[in-house]
Amino acid sequence: MDKAADNGYKIIGKPTPLIDSRAKVMGQALYTDDIRLHNPLTIKILRSPHPSANILSVDITAALALPGVRGVLTGADFKNTFGVLTISKDEPALARTVVRYEGEPVAAVAAETAEIADKAVELIKVDYQLTDGVFDSRRALKATDHPLHPELGRENNLHKKVLQEFGDIDQGFEQADVVVEKRFRFASINHAFTEPHATQVEIDNRGNITVYSATQVPHYLHMAMAEVLEIPEHRIRIIKPHLGGGFGGKSDPFPHEMIAARFALDLGRNVKLKFSREDVFFSHHGRHQTDLTMKLGFCKEKGITALTLDTLIDGGAYGSFGIVTTYYNGVLLQGPYKVPNFRFHVNRLYTNKPMCGAMRGHGGVNPRFASEVLLDMACAECDLDPAETRLRFILKENTLTTNEFRVTSVGLQNGLREAMKRTDWQRKYGKLPFGKGIGVACGFFISGSALPIHWNKLPASTVRITLDHDGGVTVYSGASDIGQGSDTMLAQMAAEVLGQPMDNVKVISADTRITPVDLGSYSSRVTFMAGNASRNAAIRMRRLLVEAACELLDMTPPEYDKPDKPEDYFRQGGRKPDFDQGFLGPNPDYADGFIFEDGLIRSERHNASVTWLEAIEKALEFQGILQTSGTYRAPKMGGKFKGAGAGLSPSYSFTAFIVEVTVDPETGFIKVDKATCAHDCGFPLNPLAVNGQIEGCIHMGLGQALMEEMVYDNGATQNPSFLEYKIPSAFEQPVVDIVPTYSDDSEGPFGAKEAGEGILAPVIPAIANAVYDAVGIRLTQLPMRPDRVLSALARKKKTREKKTRKKKKEAKR
């Protein structure tokens, strides 16, 4: 199973500490709020205390008159609204005539000190006319005289409706041995990252701004900011400093970023702004509150025969990533098993609550819970082992799903088999004493969205590499390292290809003035896409050095194979580079007859070598500078129907969890004792980072499973703190066993796929299925609070009593 050793890789496949870990541990890493600009103004935001109101007037005179106040902004200062999706630009930087959620920014103050800014915020007088809000997605579905977004021509609060149908549903259910159906409900949850949002803006004497911001998407922020501020992009430079966690919560452009930049431009001063934890909860953008009914048909021989779901997702006041979420609630059910007949209907509603958006496992997590619980129920009804059954029906390699996703590598079977062995599944499942249980669930996820948010033909990621004359390597990438370790991954790519130690590779990332475009850290795309781009840039650099070495050694440079037309090449998933076309494709083979190691570039055939520095010096003679670029773009693929692009990815990751729990039938407490994870991330480039992602996903999944919930009371956020919004503490983390699970993805860089998000979804239903094994109840509502466990146990007891009474009666007759 340990493939890393066999391939002869020197850097990849080895547990590698993140290159910035030392700086972080030593407290030297600068996060956005740590940066010290010269004499900045402090910005404070006035937020609406009302979830639904008209703004009759905003009086800023007293605030402006306060000594030390340099500026006040209101909704009137911004013409353009924005949104991360081009089709959903509905959010203003500051509310204009209406407020749509409690905590919505209404005005902002820039002042010489934070204290003055605070005082000025209190002096702003807003005259609100309260209006009836809509706080419930079912009610939001009804016709209304007061839609949230009449300005967009919307007559109701239905933001997005997606209905897709594949195959023959009726026939699918007819083929089933059992049909199970249930309604599931999910609370909205927050990302709860460590670092609250922060932004600082520096302005130069020519009116250009540098925006330091805690963002996952510098490129999208760049574009949105240019549009909102109505200045060209070249006047804006976005830099993402060290970042303390995102999980999707920093993947939109935000109002506070627009506000900060506006102040800097208007006042000609540097400015700074940071969120409190409460601000983070008010801004939210977390996982949608979801109400879904799912029906699953299962045949012992064929597996799933039909799957339908009807879903309401509560979007809150604005669009954010919501349209994508709407699709993902359906399409991410197309794996890890074949679903031949499939229909999903998802409605996203506008309500007067903080908006929901992307969060780790985006849109796929809640329906995954439902489908894995239903599959477990089907197995129980058919008297089948749920783990063995899953093993049988996991998608095979190189298959097309019903909605035409191209599934390439699948390595889950081995992983799940090994997990069953390690947990002693056969001896435990169904055989543990009451209160102890074991459960299984699987999942799958995209390795980057194949299509960009802003439609264009540019590469999804471009990486530039330069070589210094003393041999140092620098990798430039727009990708955002948000703590997941993408900088380290980019360096690993270059170090492996160029045969250099990690110390010799520097990474400059996420600076829109210096680094080439990468679309951002979302949809688990960075390893696959930026990784490929970095690898390709390094291969090009390698080629320059080989050429120089040949010149020095008086050898003929190697010739490289060329693929056919790119389209054909992509469909084949081939690996051959095409240097003449300036196009390398994904994961090209770079065997060139040379070995780069120990500071030498050596020809294998001629057993002759030059030193690394000699080759560089020679190569520099040609250009005076050693610089290459590499790109990645997803192959053409997918169906021709409307919405076929949603969930389309060049590759998919697969995950299985076996979870062991103890349920206290008197208190209803669920204790997760152990989680065994098999995650097929292709070839793990950095097992240390992969394991970290697995442990983190388990912790985050545990939170959603057992305790996390955004609580609203008539639109007011009732728990905007880490005291009352319960994320698990270290005490609740179970023992984790990670089963090495490999596949070789033909297009992922060195065979790698995503490892950041897909892991999360199946851990939650695995807990629920283990609870069923422990005490015989099916929980259909998250979080699975102790009181819900007890209610379910009481219901079970009642049904059983009813059954016995009925039997007794029948016996009497």
Partner: protein, 330 residues
């Protein structure tokens, strides 16, 4: 709002005499003030503007309020002893181990290193509508505890009602101290006085402490029981950080069983059943469970729904009894 308000004085008297002089002065000048020991409950209230002060009087200079000592059959705990000191004290673990357990169950190590036992028994009552930011409090109208005219939990409540505010009592150590029949020494303008801890608590969520403005608790005095057959259990979704959704202290003696509850109502509840009144031990336990459950008029202001918390009272009492019995067997 996450910064402290600017305009308040901070004073740190070094002796009780200095403290007394300060209090007299402030009272004469009509200056509002509050005492701060660990500050873990107070500072968040200042930051969220729940509390507005002219002066913050730190008690941390009063070294005479520190120390845990044994005098004959008594343990005296200085009110400024931190919860960590109580939890780690050899005297406590030898003579009053359950008190140490309860102290260990409060919040997190960082907070226990600051928070004091005096502060824990004086901790202000909490409610999900009052312990909020100004924005949230403005979103709802101000409640009785905030000086307003409405209770968001009990919508029918109106001025003149016996209980206006249902903000709940959340001390983890108080139930154990109550069952130990602890006495507290209070010092103020009229000099020191000693009362039973049970007399400190009133059934009023707005202010449930029967103590005069300017008085401080200096020490807690506990008579060492012959056998400390006690148990304390806390209901919270996490094993750290949280205030008790319910706390149940149980004590068994030759005469019967006693129970103290926290986390439910504005005041802690204390119940007792005498062996003599029941024909069996089991009946006695059943009776005290029923009585204790009746005490819970808990409202939905917590992670757990009210019905569940009520049900857990009996579960926790029985478990506490079982644990004590098991321990005395070994």
């Amino acid at each position: 709002m996450s910064s402290l308000p600017e305009n308040f004085d901070y004073v740190r008297p070094a002796t009780l005499d200095q403290l007394s002089a300060l209090v007299t002065e402030y009272q004469q000048k009509d200056r509002s003030f509050a005492f701060s020991a660990g500050g873990t409950d107070l500072i968040p209230k200042l930051k969220t503007r729940l509390l507005n002060l002219d002066s913050l009087i730190s008690l941390n200079g009063l070294t005479e309020l520190t120390g845990i000592e044994k005098h004959a059959h008594h343990i005296t705990i200085g009110a400024l002893s931190t919860l960590s000191e109580v939890a780690d004290s050899d005297l406590i673990s030898q003579y009053l181990p359950t008190l140490g357990d309860a102290a260990r169950k409060v919040a997190s190590p960082q907070i226990r290193n600051r928070a004091t036992i005096g502060g824990n028994i004086m901790v202000d009552n909490r409610c999900s509508y009052i312990n909020q930011s100004p924005i949230n409090r403005e979103s709802h109208s101000p409640c009785f505890k905030a000086g307003g005219d409405v209770c968001h939990l009990v919508k029918s409540a109106k001025r003149g009602d016996e209980i206006l505010c249902q903000a709940r009592f959340v001390s983890d150590t108080a139930p154990v101290l109550l069952l130990l029949d602890a006495k507290i020494t209070i010092t103020g303008a009229a000099g020191p006085r000693k009362i039973k801890l049970a007399e400190l608590y009133l059934n009023d969520g707005i202010d449930n402490k029967n103590i005069n403005s300017g008085e401080v608790i200096t020490a807690i005095d506990i008579e060492i029981p012959d056998k400390c057959r006690m148990d304390y259990q806390k209901l919270a979704i996490r094993n750290a950080l949280d205030f008790p959704s319910l706390g149940v202290a149980v004590r068994l003696s030759d005469n019967g069983v006693s129970v103290a509850l926290t986390g439910l109502n504005p005041r802690p509840g204390v119940f007792q059943a005498d062996t003599a009144d029941y024909d069996s031990f089991d009946n006695m336990i059943a009776a005290i469970c029923a009585e204790a459950m009746g005490f819970a008029v808990t409202y939905q202001q917590d992670f757990f729904p009210r019905g569940y918390r009520k049900d857990m009272i009996a579960v926790f009492i029985r478990r506490g009894v079982d644990r004590i019995m098991k321990e005395s067997k070994t």
